[in-house]
């Protein structure tokens, strides 16, 4: 009997230890779009890669989370979070007051300006208010870029796309005259790659806090403040221990984090 008791006690101890370890390694499902290079996209091998993905992995390691990725279209990315299909969105999502009504955000993990791309040699009047009269501007729908273009150039015809790649394709073919997006997204995901030779940056770098906000953060459901804190601490940690810089330097020739 005493052998059985010991065995039972041992089994219990193991179970508790396992439970404790599982609690240590909190499981976190991360939603991302997978169509926004170089931040998050599916590579030729079908693997989810990119700056967001690597930062997400580094943050999970720093915060001791056991992370898995879920790919979700941009349209449904916040509804998916609210529906508990994943616990955090790490998909270059800009922190905006409108989104903050629905979800919580961590501090920013990067902040880069918005720019136009046009076909090489094209020249347009970008006077705020009256410029871009009758011209077509392609943007990804429901993004800060859409809001910014609509408000800044009310005479432009805004064409919205599901993904940035579709907007770029229509700039190449000439269906739209300009596209506006994040500078890095345009540079890395479009202008630098094959098929992007047709086009170039145009105009200024735009960084209007009203629209472009505080940068990209991690969106989390409002009832999980401890997850926000965990990620915030992890962002500070990877900034300090050089992990951020080593990932950053793989992708960009400047610090994507922006102002401290």
């Amino acid at each position: 009997m005493s052998f059985l008791k010991t065995a039972a006690a041992a089994a219990l101890t193991v179970a508790i230890a396992a439970a404790a370890q599982a609690e240590d390694m909190r499981k976190v499902r991360i939603g991302t779009e997978g169509a926004y290079p170089p931040f998050n996209y599916i590579d030729a091998n079908g693997e989810l890669v990119g700056f967001d993905v690597e930062i997400a992995k580094a943050l999970c390691k720093a915060a001791n989370y056991d992370c898995t990725f879920v790919v979700q279209d941009w349209d449904g990315i916040i509804p998916g979070l609210l529906a508990d299909k994943y616990d955090a969105i790490i998909a270059s999502m800009s922190i905006t007051p409108k989104r903050k009504e629905v979800v919580d955000f961590t501090d920013k993990y990067y902040n880069t300006p918005a720019r136009f791309a046009v076909q090489r040699g094209d020249d347009f009047d970008l006077t705020e208010g009256s410029g871009l009269d009758g011209l077509r501007v392609g943007v990804q729908g429901a993004t800060i870029h859409e809001d910014f273009v609509r408000a800044t150039w009310p005479k432009a015809e805004v064409v919205t796309y599901g993904t940035q790649e579709e907007a770029n394709a229509d700039l190449v073919s000439g269906r739209v005259d300009l596209v506006m997006a994040d500078s890095v997204v345009l540079q890395e995901g479009f202008l630098k790659v094959d098929g992007g030779d047709c086009c170039e940056f145009f105009g200024l770098s735009y960084s209007d806090p009203t629209y472009h906000g505080e940068g990209a953060g991690i969106a989390i459901r409002k009832d999980e403040p401890e997850l926000v804190e965990g990620f915030n601490a992890a962002i500070v940690e990877i900034r300090n221990d050089g992990t951020y810089k080593s990932i950053n330097d793989k992708y960009f020739e400047f610090d994507a984090y922006g102002a401290e």
Binding site: D75, P79, A142, E166, A169, D170, V172, S173, G174, R175
Partner: protein
């Protein structure tokens, strides 16, 4: 004519804004549906417009295609077979993307041919062309089946009266085939109407496009899709009832007769 359309558009817009004002008053300022009511209605109008135009042009195309399908001349028959096979055998989404993004790849060539500005450049044109070609293929098959279904005895009788060629088709085969085709054609119309929702994927703001837009700015997925669904349902109901009326009209000579050629109409009464 343009000024007339513009006037109608302005009046519709003003009327809609008044209704929207009422809804917003009723539902509160932040309501996703009430606050976007006019945009959703404008989307529904585009949906109806796409359906109607592609239906009319598609039908006009379907008649010659169906006749070519029935022809024993391989020069007529083969292209018609290939055309209907492709458009019935591939997903509408593939056809739409092929025409929209595919044509974008050949924009320099299309520009040279003068087929770019006002045509392939416009998402509206690409969507309309795809829907038209798609429904024409299905309608052609429906018509072909219906024409094969015209009883041989009736054709024989017509020939005995000395009718042939165009006259035979115009007086005997087409009217009869229309009656046989009607139930299947009403289905095709509703399918086409619902398929138009795919055009939202090539930047068009049809009912589904506006609904997606509203969802991504308000995050109210459930209410918005329920509302869009109800609008689709209402219009589908309208289409069914129109077809029911047409069917009653075409079958009026059979009223109370019972039996006879009634079997061809049996599948027609859906409601």
């Amino acid at each position: 004519m343009d000024w007339l359309w513009e006037l109608i558009g302005q009046q519709a817009q003003a009327g809609c804004m008044a209704v929207q004002g009422g809804f917003v008053g009723l539902m509160g300022e932040g309501d996703a549906i009430a606050g976007n009511f006019c945009r959703l209605m404008a989307g529904a109008w585009l949906t109806v417009k796409l359906t109607l135009i592609s239906l009319v042009i598609g039908f006009a195309l379907a008649v010659p295609v169906a006749l070519a399908r029935l022809s024993r001349n391989p020069l007529l028959n083969w292209p018609a077979v290939a055309y209907t096979f492709y458009f019935r055998g591939t997903p509408l989404l593939v056809q739409l993307f092929l025409l929209y993004y595919g044509s974008g790849q050949f924009s320099p060539e299309l520009r040279e041919l003068g087929l770019w500005r006002g045509m392939f450049r416009e998402a509206y044109f690409c969507a309309l062309l795809t829907l038209t070609l798609n429904t024409a293929a299905y309608t052609a098959e429906i018509l072909r089946g219906a024409m094969l279904g015209v009883p041989a005895g009736e054709v024989e009788a017509a020939r005995a009266y000395g009718m042939s060629g165009v006259k035979l088709y115009r007086r005997i085969v087409f009217p009869k085939a229309m009656r046989i085709a009607l139930p299947a054609y009403s289905n095709e119309t509703v399918f086409l109407f619902q398929s138009t929702s795919l055009v939202s994927l090539v930047t068009l703001l049809d009912l589904m496009g506006v609904a997606r837009d509203v969802i991504s700015s308000t995050f109210r997925t459930f209410e918005t899709l329920i509302f869009a669904g109800l609008v689709y349902l209402a219009i589908s109901f309208l289409i069914f009832s129109i077809f029911k009326r047409v069917e009653q009209h075409l079958m009026r000579h059979l009223k109370g007769a019972g039996g006879g050629e009634g079997q061809s109409a049996a599948g027609g009464t859906k409601a």
